[in-house]
Amino acid sequence: MAAISQKQLAEWYEAYGTELMLYARQWNPDQQAEDIVQDAFIKLLKQGRCPENVRAWLFRVVRNASISIVRRLQQGRRAGRKFLHRDVMWFESRPENLIDARLAQDILQTLPSHLCEIVLLRIWGQMSLKEIAQVMSKSIPWIHNEYKTALEMIRKKLEHSSCTTKRT
């Protein structure tokens, strides 16, 4: 457990900043996601001691902050996340993509919240199932099963959307 320098913090920011932003965007609008990610890094520096797994620690802090904000909003009888944050783009739209960025985002947003979270952590967060289990405080087999379920649902939705595109 070593002390954290500002240089180290900058390196971590370069390495994980984008993935953390994507992870935070599933719950929050863009500006709020930025604030949450920034707060997570500041909290890390303030903590003084380096956690064992910095990446997992950052994702967990972002998750806790986002969930607490969502709960606060739900208590205030505000609209759900899926209606609030549809305008914010998650992925870059590039011609070399094999799947449309907007379509992928829409499919991910229609998944149950925990499935979307697992997919984001696994594919774009590049986390192992063990790390995801730590972040979500669940068992590894449960994460594994849910991940397979999520991939199956995404595949079906993609097939469905390609069928409807062909028909039109």
Binding site: V37, Q38, L151
Partner: protein
């Protein structure tokens, strides 16, 4: 235990297709983050730093408010009792000397006793009164 081997070929392919999508670049400025991080950590003050700061302020205040030893008080609104006494003792002899009612009988007594030389001696000691003609002074003394 739970690696890519546990996924089917179709699932792995889907993973790689999704993985090609690049998340939107972070809009958060790195410099802003570092500035905020630095400011947040700089705000953390230890008790001894606060205590030493307070002591420095008190020391500066005590130097600023320190009373002048020559008697001139910068912050007091009126004269204190000690100052009043000192003023009285300093100015009392001067008032007695310059007062005409006290010097005149003494001068008269001296002239009666020592003659006109006493008048010359008195003029040499005191320069507060303007010099007069001896004759006029003698006449004024005799007439009183």
């Amino acid at each position: 235990m739970y690696n890519k081997e546990n996924l089917t070929g179709a699932e792995q392919e889907l993973e790689s297709v999704l993985g090609q999508l690049k998340p939107i670049a972070n809009t958060l400025n790195r410099d802003v983050l570092m500035f905020n991080a630095g400011r947040a950590t700089a705000g953390k003050r230890r008790p001894w730093q606060m205590l030493s700061g307070v002591l420095i302020v008190l020391l500066l205040c005590s130097v600023w408010v320190r009373p002048d030893l020559n008697g001139a008080r910068s912050l007091s609104s009126g004269p204190g009792p000690g100052e009043f006494q000192m003023t009285q003792t300093l100015y009392q002899p001067v008032q007695a000397e310059s007062s005409g009612s006290l010097t005149y009988p003494m001068l008269r007594q001296n002239i009666v006793k020592y003659g006109l030389d006493a008048l010359r001696f008195q003029q040499g000691m005191s320069h507060s009164e303007p010099l007069k003609n001896r004759k006029q002074l003698l006449e004024s003394m005799l007439s009183s």
